[in-house]
Symmetry: C2
Subunit: 339 residues, 2 copies
Amino acid sequence: MGVTIKDVAKKAKVSIATVSHVIHKTRYVSKEVTERVNKAIEELNYYPNLLVGSLRKKKTFTIGLIIPNISNETFGKLSENIQRILFEKNYNLIICNTANSVSIENAAIKTLLTKKVDGVIAIPTTTEPTKFLEIKNMEIPIVFIDRIISGFEVDSVLINNYKGTYDAISYLIKDLKHRHIGYIDRPIDHSHNIEQKRGYIEALKDNGITINEDFIVRAERFDYSAGVNAVKLLLKRNPELTAIFGYYDIIAMGAIRGAIEMGYKIPNDISIIGYDGMPFTSVSNPSLTTVKIPITKLANNVCNLLLKRLEKNKEKNVTIKLNPNLLIRESVTIARDAS
Amino acid sequence: MGVTIKDVAKKAKVSIATVSHVIHKTRYVSKEVTERVNKAIEELNYYPNLLVGSLRKKKTFTIGLIIPNISNETFGKLSENIQRILFEKNYNLIICNTANSVSIENAAIKTLLTKKVDGVIAIPTTTEPTKFLEIKNMEIPIVFIDRIISGFEVDSVLINNYKGTYDAISYLIKDLKHRHIGYIDRPIDHSHNIEQKRGYIEALKDNGITINEDFIVRAERFDYSAGVNAVKLLLKRNPELTAIFGYYDIIAMGAIRGAIEMGYKIPNDISIIGYDGMPFTSVSNPSLTTVKIPITKLANNVCNLLLKRLEKNKEKNVTIKLNPNLLIRESVTIARDAS
DNA sequence: ATGAAAGCGCTAACAG
DNA sequence: CTGTTAGCGCTTTCAT
């Protein structure tokens, strides 16, 4: 492992304890000795082995991040912010992409435990707490982002997806007179999309519109082409639709494409709303009206929560709820059947 | 640090050596004992501390990834692929975003060295090898992606940015009859954009077009709005331009927006070509003609190179060069002044 | 077929 | 003000 503290001690003609103390400024060392040690460190290109230190200090300064996929713009931005904030506090991030696979997620947790991370930040895929329970039982702090696992208490920073969707749908109904609104749901249920759907249902109800199950369809996957297919299915089945909500920007972008392929004009024939507020949705044409998740705020809250918890692990779990907000852009307009 | 090998040994009534051997199958242990040990591991929820193991084995199974920013779609995809491939080989990734800052990059290298990573993968920002030289001197394998630091020999997987740009510009000239082609360059020079520019220059030369320095401008930053500004500057100064090449997709997207804001129609008035092949450029409108970097192939090559090097570190440096390819989409068409 | 014990590089308690 | 040393959790050599 190259140069060790011993080599430095020998070169500086001091004990290894002194070297350690010079590095961490953990007790007074005379100026001359300090200089000698620093010189030796410099000359030998010594980098203290933090992993060994962690052996005694019970702290690795490593945090695990479990996330579906960082190549998603939203998750990428989020990871980047988290990494930056934690790096400033001397923590490093081991990022594990789960690709929405429970088995990969479990494997990731296992590795993180063997790497003895000080804490875990997760956007969990699973809806069973099993593996996360193990983390918790080991008293390793966990922070969940935008997901709940029912019956599992953790610190979490949530997005008010109910309100986000409710507001978007209400806007379509009240401001733009839509009454036939299609809905593209997530392939598999998790807490966030269930909340979204509740927002859709409640907004319809509150405006006296009966729910039509035919207007709701699940995307087959998490990607663009799934959006294309979903919208086609929806529009063929329900030609009366004047607006469509996609639970996720990429799906909504696919929906725009699918609708265009079917000969519809966006937004004149069909209004489309997305969810997440990914940057690229603003540069597309038409730009996408979408519900924006406050990423920076999210990252800040997550890190704060975790850092606090790393200091005192004993207090009650905290849940923070952040409001998304509707970004009105070009992909929506007044309903074509508005009277 | 919770449950240790000792606890397992005690519970299974064997020595810690035996526990270790059961875990790693590193010597024969009788069936009964093996079962007892595994049962104890299970019941105690024991996760071996890999960091300690690395103390003796001189191997941490951790790789450092230094990258400008993973929230960039290209880098995000790249990171994700690298993470997945290495994870399958039991390696973890510590990702450090440098935000194109040399000082952050240096700080990142320092941390990676204290975390005793087995290897480093980097898209370097600096053009001075100083810190990377330290890594190399410690005989830690490094792989560079798409960047060269002159006078610094490392394994690298490069993109043939010269050819990528040359082909794109040649296409504009030969197929689409453009003769007045603007060029938006990177804010600061690095190897890849220098190669790109050389491709631009040579393509013009080879087609008998004289280089006009006024047609070349540098983006002020790496972002969308810098593209907007750059194109405006370019078009005001040179109304004769019929096409513009942006060294980076986001800049090119900004250029489209800027040109539209000035009243140009894309592609009829101005053709615009980007570089990178980010996914979102295909769903925008008009979709962007761009030079696509082969991300998956890139990730595979990088990981292969690194994994090989982790086995035998003594051989000569390897450089792999991958060809990008032109994706022809909607943002280019025949020059408006074509005769 | 299994155990005892040295030692990896470092921190921190103790000693002087 | 500085040095000596035990020990963190584990792997591996040596011993039986």
